[in-house]
Amino acid sequence: MSEKIIEIKSIAKKFGLFEAVKDVSFHVNQGDVFGFLGPNGAGKSTTIRCMLSLIKPDSGSIEIFGKSIFTHRNDILARTGSIIEKPDFYKYLSAYRNLEIFSRLFRLSPSKQEIYKMLDFVGLGGREKDKFSGFSHGMKQRLGIAQTLLHNPDLIVLDEPTTGLDPQGIIDIRNLILRLKNEQHKTVILSSHNLAEIEIICNRMVIINKGVSVVEGEVNALMNHEDLVVRLEVSDKEKAKSVIRLSFPQNKITDINEFSLEISIEKSMISELNKDLVNAGIGIYSIEAKRKLEDYFIKMVNA
């Protein structure tokens, strides 16, 4: 059983009369890529800020690496790297200078070569001396990731890391996170609205809503209880829909395009569906079954 890296118990935080977080609890194991999900205003940002000592919770406990954040803040942060919301650096300083400034506060400051190497790694090679004020959104994200990884932290907290990145950038980040997990055994907390990303990358997750943790656990285990979403590409979509409505009147059907549709259905009923469509003379070009986190998320949040 993996060691618990983070244990959050019943934290709550009020800003004036507004309860941003009411009762959030979850834990993260060593080596997890942990998805942190919730709709806007759920309390994700407040929870992350509490974890990183930017906000002091009104109640509850936060332990990271077996130590309380309230009493061992510096020890914990020395092993943690994070991007919270958008990465903000000093506009009047260059990319290199910005990293140098922050890295000077690490216990072991990286050398100039190491900083240059990291900038190269995140795709900012050749832009070391350019001022941050001139960077695009994607470049700012990359610099933020560079700053997060520069001191080789054990725990990495990423809040919307792929926002503003081009498709290649998104893939790069995804691959990076997987490498961090698989090759370097880092623990990553990933907060994102890109549920497809979460579904691909994360092994565990928590969903919070209205300041309360709703569900927590292994992604696969949670999704296993849910209906699959089957995408069909057929020769006659309208006819297929009629057949499906007759056989599976309760199941949700979604139009995708002229020839494709999706249906939520139990795994065991897929062969039945296939038989009904074939018997009705409908040609099936492709049939693809998957769980959709999006649906699960919406279901949990609305529960």
Partner: protein
Amino acid sequence: MIFLRSIYNEVIKIALKPRSYLGIAAITALVGVILFALKSDGMSIISFVTSSFEQTLSFEGNVLNGNLVAFIILQMLIVQIPLLIALVTGDLVSGEAAMGTIRMLLTQPISRTQLLLSKFIAGGIYTLIVIIWLGFMSVIMGKLLFGSGDLMVLNSDGLVILQEADVNWRYLGGFLVAFLALFTVSSLSICLSCFTDNSIGPIVTTMSIILLFTIIGTLDVHVFDSVRPLLLTTHMASWRSFFEDPLPILDIKNSILILLIHNVLLISISIYVFNKKDITA
């Protein structure tokens, strides 16, 4: 070790911020204008000061000399210099919040207290540089352009003429006390900076406080007598006491003590507020 590195960081940030040079440039321009004006027609300023004496007496010697010029410059800039300090130091905390870098800074393994103290120290270093530059521009340039000589100072209890050999140590003492006074301004602006995420607010508030207190201090009315000893600006001007004869040592010590108390209070309040602050920016 991290504390020292943090101080270095803060100094670098100030040094690389364009606004920091506004103060230096402003001092250069202001002093340059005053030097030019005095070189052109400085005697008329002196005549205005000594007018009631000049009916019966004549002042022989190099009256308009570098020492007097430096004194005139310091008197004229007494309100402006604190504003130039606040322009940079008022931004040290709130500017980070406005930029968003406060989030990045406070997730580094340095305590909030250490981080804040490093900002105070960096603000102090900037203040020292400003004072040294002001000293160079006023005293050194003044002496280069006008020569040296006895210093004629008009106080509210009379005219004092200090001999040349007796002036340099007074300027040294005066500048040291002025540095303490300006460091207090820096502390005030940083303290105000801890209360807000707005970059301009602390700067404007500091300027307003300085102006208001200066006006109260200048108005020669009894109703403010009880308030005046407590005002920061009253003791900010204690550098001027070095040019009285006899030297009011007790008054100077009192001012230094009050300025130190101000600093301790302001720094303590800042540390308390900064440590309790929730970073939502």
